[in-house]
Symmetry: C2
Subunit: 208 residues, 2 copies
DNA sequence: GGGCTTTAACTAACCATTTAGTTAAACAAG
DNA sequence: CTTGTTTAACTAAATGGTTAGTTAAAGCCC
């Protein structure tokens, strides 16, 4: 491994570890010392490669959003009918949050703080993702497939449910061990069926 | 004002201010000095009445959950049909989060951190609220009003959308000033119609 | 007098950031 | 080929600001 390659993998390792710390503890709660320790590098290496805590956070957030949004937009664009686009939208969002378990917690914390630490580029993606759904719903209405609906509410229900599902895994575990006997069986779906169930419910609600 | 009353109002004032700080910055991000300053009391008064930062947080969270959950359970219990109960459930939840703007952000942060700082009593309420919806859906199915559905998904869609709406207000403001021209008109509902729109969509999706 | 509150330190720990190095790979000159 | 030099990558230790929590003396109001 050449020096430059080693530098790249070091940076990647730092970003990966930082993401999990920011997801679990937030920007204020995360400790640069711990990130460095878990990444197996000296703390100063983080400052050498990336910059301070704020830059580290921004970069993690930006990279997440970039990857997720690009995949979402391209998957939706590959479909033609409004229903297929809607299903692709939901399915891809579930996949993204499954592939990147840090994204949902980080996003939820940002919502709670009014998006204080979201970098500019991140806000652009938030907007594009929302506009994409608006377009899908509009197309569905124009083609007579969907009834009229408020895109903001629909968006809320999709994003809200998926984000809560993705971020809620640790909490579900906690509840399941705490209230073992009282829970009805099978209340918690697996990832695989989540997208299908949400899509079915949504399509059922939107169809004429 | 008697001595005890003065102590009570001091405590209330501290809790109220602490709630807003915890909502905006989280447990790790909030500063006890700032809470004391904004509450108009000396920092020592907080330690005298309530205890340290952790106790302050627990008490704020516990009080929120207690008030919200009791209102939710009693409002649902006052209805008889499954649809009325479901509508009461949704409406009360929207009202609760409207009356107490700190609840949604605090809850979302807790979800993100796996409920690390939720006091025992709070977890009990989370469970009871979820079980209540499960009962409503079961009743609806037994009475032939609702089709079969996964209560966990339904719960996710309700809680997720309402929480995201409630916690998302500052973010919506940010997006609206940043992307002024590009936003379609009327995409963002007002609080008053939110409960009705979610209820209608949900009932439409669940009805046979 | 006694419960409540303020004032105004104080400390001990924590934590982000900086500084002053060290190491080893790449490289150039002889 | 090898010796000396440069440079990127990294480390260990120090620095200095911040912060939760404490304390003691004094004042206030019933």
């Amino acid at each position: 491994m050449t020096r430059l390659e080693s530098a790249d993998t070091t940076t990647m390792q730092i970003l990966k570890v930082a993401a999990s710390h920011f997801a679990e503890k937030g920007l204020a709660g995360a400790r640069v010392d711990e990130i460095a320790r878990d990444a197996g590098v000296n703390k100063a290496t983080i400052y050498y490669h990336i910059g301070g805590k704020a830059e580290l956070y921004s970069e993690v957030f930006r990279a997440n959003m970039h990857q997720s949004a690009e995949k979402l937009l391209s998957n939706v664009a590959s479909k033609t009918s409004a229903e297929d686009k809607l299903r692709a939208y939901i399915t891809t969002m579930v996949e993204n949050l499954h592939d990147n378990p840090c994204a949902a917690p980080m996003m939820m914390r940002e919502m709670a703080s009014g998006g204080e630490n979201i970098p500019e580029e991140g806000l652009n993606y938030v907007m594009r993702i929302f506009m994409t759904l608006t377009e899908i719903l509009k197309q569905g209405q124009e083609e007579g497939e969907f009834r009229e609906s408020n895109p903001a509410i629909t968006h809320l229900m999709i994003i809200g449910s998926i984000m809560f599902y993705a971020a809620g895994e640790p909490m579900r575990q906690k509840l399941m061990t705490l209230f073992d006997g009282e829970l009805p069986q099978q209340v918690f779906t697996d990832d695989g069926r989540l997208a299908a169930e949400i899509s079915d419910l949504l399509v059922h609600a939107l169809k004429n």
